[in-house]
């Protein structure tokens, strides 16, 4: 048991799985000697050699395309995309190829691959370093999409991802890379992809969130006098609708919180499903607290864009007042 931050928990998961599975290889921009711009792969090249941990040319489509080939060839590549904003050039290889390979070849070729991607705002970064594109990939059949909100979860979910036979986008919220530490077992454990975590129980209202926003939700809940249940989705696809529906059936009210823009964000799917599954139990419309339908602003205004505890509080109040 060690007290680790998110970066360290991921680093540990990588080490342990790489020791078990010689087919895991890591690649990306600056992940070798430099250990990645967030130091998530620190020390891994030294430990596992340049064959298993290597720097690539600066080309995201190339990184994913090469990884697809590696995976078709029987390895489990773990490409890092330096920031979520640079998934753009790799979109086609991810969505038209990685996601479809099993289906278009009826299983003759598969793409076991874990794409690691720092995600989200809040660290005063330059343009295209603060976005939240998870809904784009949740809308793309054939992918799995994971986003942990704590060191413990990160380790358990990453180990699962590294054992997945299909491509996983593993989003790491950079705002909480070093924000806090928690006890993370050295021993092996996994958290299932597709299962949510109930962070705290409550009876008046359910909050559904994921990634760094979970922290903002907890702040709002601490300040609230009402009994609020918080569900951390942990995985965006497949998502644990049973957990959400069960909670909302109990509370009758729900607020969904995420950083991505409102329109067609993953919150809209959660809201639509809640309506489908809990229609008769719902006492108020599902409230969405999300990024606005604008480009993520440069950092002077990023805190005005990102959902924060006061906005979550307002939504809780509005929803309860309905």
């Amino acid at each position: 048991m060690a007290n680790l931050n998110l970066v360290q928990a991921i680093n540990l998961a990588l080490i342990q799985e790489m020791e078990k599975n010689p087919d895991i290889v890591l690649l990306g921009e600056d992940i070798g000697v430099n250990g990645g711009v967030f130091r998530v792969t620190e020390g891994l090249q030294k430990r596992f050699g340049e064959k298993r941990v290597f720097d690539t040319p600066l080309a995201e489509s190339g990184i994913i395309g090469l990884s697809i080939g590696l995976a078709m060839g029987g390895l489990h590549p773990v490409p890092e995309i330096q920031f979520e904003g640079f998934l753009g050039p790799a979109y086609d290889q991810i969505c038209s190829h990685a996601a479809r390979m099993r289906s278009r070849t009826r299983g003759a070729f598969t793409v076991p691959m874990t794409i690691r991607i720092p995600v989200g705002g809040g660290i005063h970064a330059p343009e295209l370093h603060s976005d939240s594109p998870e809904a784009i990939y949740a809308h793309t059949p054939g992918l799995k999409v994971v986003m942990p909100s704590s060191p413990y979860d990160a380790k358990g979910l990453l180990v699962s991802a590294l054992r997945e036979p299909d491509p996983v986008l593993f989003f790491e919220p950079k705002r909480i890379y070093r924000a806090f530490r928690e006890e993370v077992p050295e021993d092996e454990y996994t958290l299932p992809i597709g299962k949510a975590r109930t962070v705290c129980e409550g009876t008046d209202l359910t909050i559904v969130s994921w990634g760094a926003s979970v922290v903002q939700c907890m702040q709002a809940i601490e300040k609230s006098s009402r009994s609020i249940e918080l569900i951390d989705l942990r995985t965006i696809y497949p998502f644990d609708m049973d957990a959400v529906a069960q909670s909302v059936s109990k509370t009758g009210r729900c607020v969904v919180v995420h950083e991505a823009p409102l329109t067609c964000g993953f919150g809209s799917e959660i809201a639509a499903r809640i309506m489908e599954r809990c229609f008769l139990q719902l006492e108020a419309p599902v409230q969405r607290v999300a990024g606005f339908d604008t480009t993520m602003p440069y950092y002077k205004l990023e805190l005005d864009y990102l959902p924060d505890a006061p906005r979550v509080t307002r939504a809780i109040e509005d929803c309860l007042a309905y």
Binding site: P57, S61, R102, S103, P165, D166
Partner: protein, 384 residues
């Protein structure tokens, strides 16, 4: 010396059996044993014939859009002939001749163009990848497949094919660059057939050759007559040897011509001159090789008719096999999305004929649930 030379290079063009029938003994002698030559010829004729069969299938509504290979048989065939059977061959969609040489069953290719993914379930031992319709994307996969082999210490290279048009895609650049800088032995083969649908190759490259596309990466580059099976074999031998011995990539431009329409959905008369097509018909790789074999007494009319008859039968059999495969189950496309189907997706599959989507059946009022139960059992009955 303020002006010095930073780089200097030269690209060779290879031609052995030219369109007029001249044969270069120095390069060509002993290059391909006579017995193999006959087999290569037969393979080209068989592929050419299948093009016609496919065309008729499409016109009679028994197949969707199909891209004919006509005129380009010697490119992928030359490559397949030189490669080891366990080197990766990573193709686009106009390399049937090479794929068949590898042993990929014709019915698989036909099935693919009949709109059935099972045609893309390439049989494993053939070391070939699925057909790629999206252009320019497969070269990176070729590099990855080869790097995976290298990682495991396997002695395996790859050869990947793409058109003059596809070489304009960014992924082409990234694939060549990754292969060169990460030391991955891939032979990149650009099939310059002068057209990308209606777009002449000069819009895809203003440079004098496509071969020089490889210079960026410091790769050895070659150009060859792609309608000359001797030249494609020669260029491949040189390139395969380079790749295998150095563990690094190289580049070949095979100059060829698409004699047919781009696909059965295309009408090439709209955009290209019949004179140009006729000139290239005179450089047909099949005719050229036949003339050579006849001159060398390796071939004659009797053999030709026997071949045509045999091939017609083989192709008819392949069509029969492709058409004989039972239609896929209506819910087939759900089952190969993931190794294990997620619960929600399974629900979509199991209720696809009985419920509107997004509606959890258990939420329905009793009478609707009853109707659903009936429909489910009817649907199940219909599938048995």
């Amino acid at each position: 010396m303020p002006i010095t030379t930073a780089y200097e290079t030269k690209i060779e063009h290879i031609s052995i059996l030219d369109a007029k029938g001249n044969f270069d003994e120095k390069l060509g002698k002993g290059l391909i044993p006579d017995a193999d030559l006959v087999k290569l010829y037969e393979a080209m004729v068989s592929c050419r014939q299948l093009d016609e069969v496919a065309f008729r299938l499409q016109r009679s509504g028994r197949m969707g859009t199909y891209p004919q290979n006509m005129g380009q048989e010697a490119t992928s065939l030359g490559a397949a002939y030189v490669l080891r059977k366990d080197d990766w061959m990573v193709t686009c969609y106009r390399e049937n001749c090479g794929l068949f040489w590898r042993g990929v069953p014709k019915e698989g290719i036909l099935l693919h163009w009949m709109g059935d993914e099972r045609g893309n379930a390439m049989p494993k031992p053939h070391w070939v990848t699925p057909i790629y319709v999206p252009l320019g994307t497969q070269m990176l996969h070729a590099a990855g497949l080869t790097l995976a082999a290298k990682y495991r210490g396997e002695d395996r290279i790859a050869c990947t094919f793409f058109g003059d048009g596809a070489s304009s895609e960014g992924d082409f650049h990234e694939a060549c660059n990754f292969a060169a800088n990460l030391h991955i032995p891939v032979v990149f083969v650009c099939q310059n057939n002068f057209w990308a649908i209606s777009t002449p190759s000069k819009i895809n490259s203003a440079a004098p050759t496509f071969a020089q596309r490889g210079l960026s990466y410091g790769m050895p580059c070659l150009q060859c007559d792609g309608n000359d099976i001797f030249a494609t074999v020669y260029a491949m031998k040189k390139s395969v040897e380079h790749a295998r011995t150095t563990g690094t990539p190289c580049f070949i431009e095979m100059v060829t011509y698409r004699l047919g329409d781009h696909t059965t959905a295309d009408d090439a008369k709209r955009y290209r001159d019949q004179n140009e097509v006729d000139a290239w018909k005179a450089r047909d790789p099949i005719i050229r090789l036949r003339n050579y074999m006849v001159a060398r007494k390796l071939w004659d009319d009797a053999k030709e008719s026997a071949l045509l008859e045999r091939v017609a039968q083989e192709n008819a059999d392949a069509v029969a096999r492709a058409e004989g495969i039972a239609a896929p189950h209506r819910a087939d496309f759900f089952d190969s999305m993931y190794a294990e189907i997620p619960a929600d997706l399974a629900m979509q599959r199991d209720t696809m004929h009985t419920h509107s989507l997004g509606q959890d059946p258990s939420q329905l009022p009793p009478e609707a649930q009853e109707r659903a139960r009936q429909m489910t059992s009817e649907a199940a009955a219909a599938h048995h």
